[in-house]
């Protein structure tokens, strides 16, 4: 026992600060008016709640795929550039912007493309353009693309010039090099990136909430917040917990895909 002494505080802390809320969430989700039951979960898979869950999944999927593709192109443009300054600048900026979600991000975009935003006045955009599905996707890409750059840049760095030369010497066109050499090596990293971006967009709450997106595009995180604060109706707290459980299930599936991919993607990068 004394051998584990150093690890005990952490284990105890996690049991308290993570274990208790997790148990409370599951217990609450399965409690309907004081007695055990599946009523809350059933409710979350119907009507407005199901719609919100669907919106969240759709938005996150669109952002994940677009972010991964755009991020990969951006990373490749930077990684193969001869300018060291450009590389440093883009990677540092990515480090900041990938961690810069939340409230300030929402206000940046409201000031830019919101109803009285600088750019929307300049271009005469219709009011409310930002507060749509695609508007929110554009906002979410602002942290998703940098996140992808950070994830994929090491993998792109790992593509050895020798592989391209070997392929060229054997008569491969650039397209064939990418299709049969580079892409297979990059695939685990790319998929891992998509999954990570999906998870990040799916969990995002602050940005959508600060933009007031709840009325035009209900998302599951916004529904949970509304249920918890009793905005909708009192006694809906346990429905919020059931929605949380739905989210955890989706996020767990995502992680179950991501972690093995991440391990595979490092294989070629030694």
């Amino acid at each position: 026992m004394t051998r584990m002494l150093g690890a005990l505080p952490l284990l105890a802390f996690v049991a308290l600060a993570f274990g208790i809320p997790a148990v409370a969430m599951v217990a609450g989700a399965f409690t309907v008016e004081g007695s055990p039951g599946f009523g809350n979960l059933a409710l979350t898979l119907r009507g407005g709640y199901l719609l919100a869950l669907g919106n969240s999944v759709k938005l996150s999927a669109v952002v994940a795929v677009l972010g991964a593709v755009l991020g990969t192109f951006l990373a490749q443009a930077v990684v193969t550039s001869r300018s060291r300054a450009l590389r440093e600048a883009v990677l540092t900026a990515s480090g900041v912007l990938a961690n810069f979600g939340g409230v300030p991000l929402a206000f940046f975009w409201v000031a830019t493309l919101g109803n009285s935003g600088v750019v929307s006045r300049l271009l005469g955009l219709p009011s409310g353009a930002l507060f749509t599905f695609w508007g929110l996707a554009v906002v979410y890409l602002y942290f998703s693309v940098p996140l992808m750059v950070l994830v994929i840049a090491p993998a792109l760095d790992g593509l050895r010039p020798q592989w391209r030369e070997a392929a060229a010497n054997n008569g491969a066109t650039p397209w064939q090099y990418w299709r049969y050499v580079a892409l297979p090596v990059l695939t685990p990293g790319l998929l891992g990136g998509v999954v990570l971006l999906f998870g990040a967009a799916f969990a995002a709450y602050a940005t959508a909430s600060a933009m007031g997106a709840g009325t035009v595009l209900p998302l599951v995180t916004l529904k949970i917040a509304a249920a918890l604060s009793g905005d909708v109706q009192t006694g809906f707290e346990n429905v919020g917990l059931a929605l949380s459980l739905d989210m955890v299930v989706v996020a767990a599936l995502v992680m179950a895909v991501y972690l093995p991919l991440q391990r595979r993607s490092t294989r070629w990068l030694r």
Binding site: R3, M4, A7, P9, L10, L11, V14, L16, F18, P21, A22, A24, M25, L70, F73, L74, V79, R82, T92, A93, G95, L97, A98, N99, F100, G102, V103, P104, F107, F108, A111, T112, S116, V118, V119, L141, Y142, F143, P146, V151, D157, L196, G199, A201, A203, Y205, A206, S209, A210, T221, I224, L228, S229, L241, M247, V248, A251, A252, M255, L259
Partner: protein
């Protein structure tokens, strides 16, 4: 708060591309120009939004007004205080645990890995749902016992420790990975045994032998924690506290310009912190 990305420790030993002569790379411009536009326009537009309005023209008044605005300093200080407490607590918990695993309890490694991955599966909003419920139930159950006072103290409005605990859980995966990467680069067992054989006490071993070798890993763990806590809105907002991010939203209704100015400030702050920390750790290693 969105998922935190590790601040990429991009390897310095980048294979240098063989110089290619001939046609300029058109596709690179096609990628970089729209990207620059997409990332820079919101920054420029937001700045313009804060310094220009139709009534007064160009003026930097919102930035001056910020300092005197009600709640600005209190909320900012609260955020920094929470961040500092979170950094200290998370490092005090994880560092001894990870060193123990390497020295004497390797079988715990799998357990640690699972524990430090679990928070990734639980989005902040769902964690705070569980925390809110626990506090509520805890309040009812513990009311007749002395622990009730402890529970109330955790939720003190001036310095809500409950937020620190939730934040520690949220950053655990990132701190774990960062420290794990740092510990991989050194031979912990040999270093510690050598120091112990030479008569160093345990605190001495930790502070003078292990920590200096982990400088950059600790710096990146600290930066990630700082960035997360300073921008954190979900947990604090739902539990009803008012650190910086919540304050920005609170004033946005009445003073739009001010909330954008505060957003600009918080981006600058994040940027500055990152540069300081990465610059600091680079100086040492150079």
């Amino acid at each position: 708060m969105t998922a935190l990305a590790p601040v990429a420790p991009v390897p310095d030993s980048v294979p240098v591309e063989p110089r290619r002569r001939g046609r300029p790379r058109l596709w690179r411009a096609v990628v970089l120009a729209p990207a620059a536009l997409y990332f820079l326009v919101p920054l420029a537009a937001s700045f313009w939004y804060t310094v220009h309005n139709e009534a007064t023209g160009l003026s930097f008044a919102p930035y001056a007004e910020l300092w005197t605005a009600e709640g600005f300093l209190t909320s900012l200080l609260l955020s920094f205080g929470l961040a500092l407490a979170t950094i200290v607590l998370v490092l005090l918990l994880t560092l001894p645990a990870m060193i123990t695993i390497r020295l004497s309890a390797p079988r715990l490694r799998a357990v640690m890995e699972v524990i430090c991955t679990l928070p990734l599966v639980v989005p902040p909003i769902t964690l705070v749902a569980g925390v809110g419920k626990s506090l509520q139930v805890g309040g009812e159950v513990l009311a007749p016992t002395p622990f009730w006072a402890t529970l109330i103290a955790l939720q003190d409005q001036d310095f809500p420790l409950v937020l620190v605990f939730v934040y520690v859980v949220l950053v655990l995966p990132f701190v774990y990975r960062s420290l794990d990467a740092g510990l991989r680069t050194m031979d912990v067992r040999t270093l510690v045994e050598a120091a112990r054989n030479l008569g160093a006490s345990w605190p001495h071993v930790m502070l003078r032998v292990v920590v200096p070798n982990l400088r950059s890993a600790l710096a990146s763990a600290a930066f990630l924690t700082l960035a997360l806590v300073l921008g954190e809105y979900t947990v604090a907002g739902i539990l009803g506290y008012q650190p910086f991010a919540v304050w920005i939203v609170t004033i946005s209704g009445a003073k739009g310009q001010l909330s954008v100015a505060a957003s600009v400030l918080s981006l600058l702050l994040t940027w500055l912190l990152l540069l300081t920390i990465s610059g600091g750790s680079r100086d040492r290693s150079a």
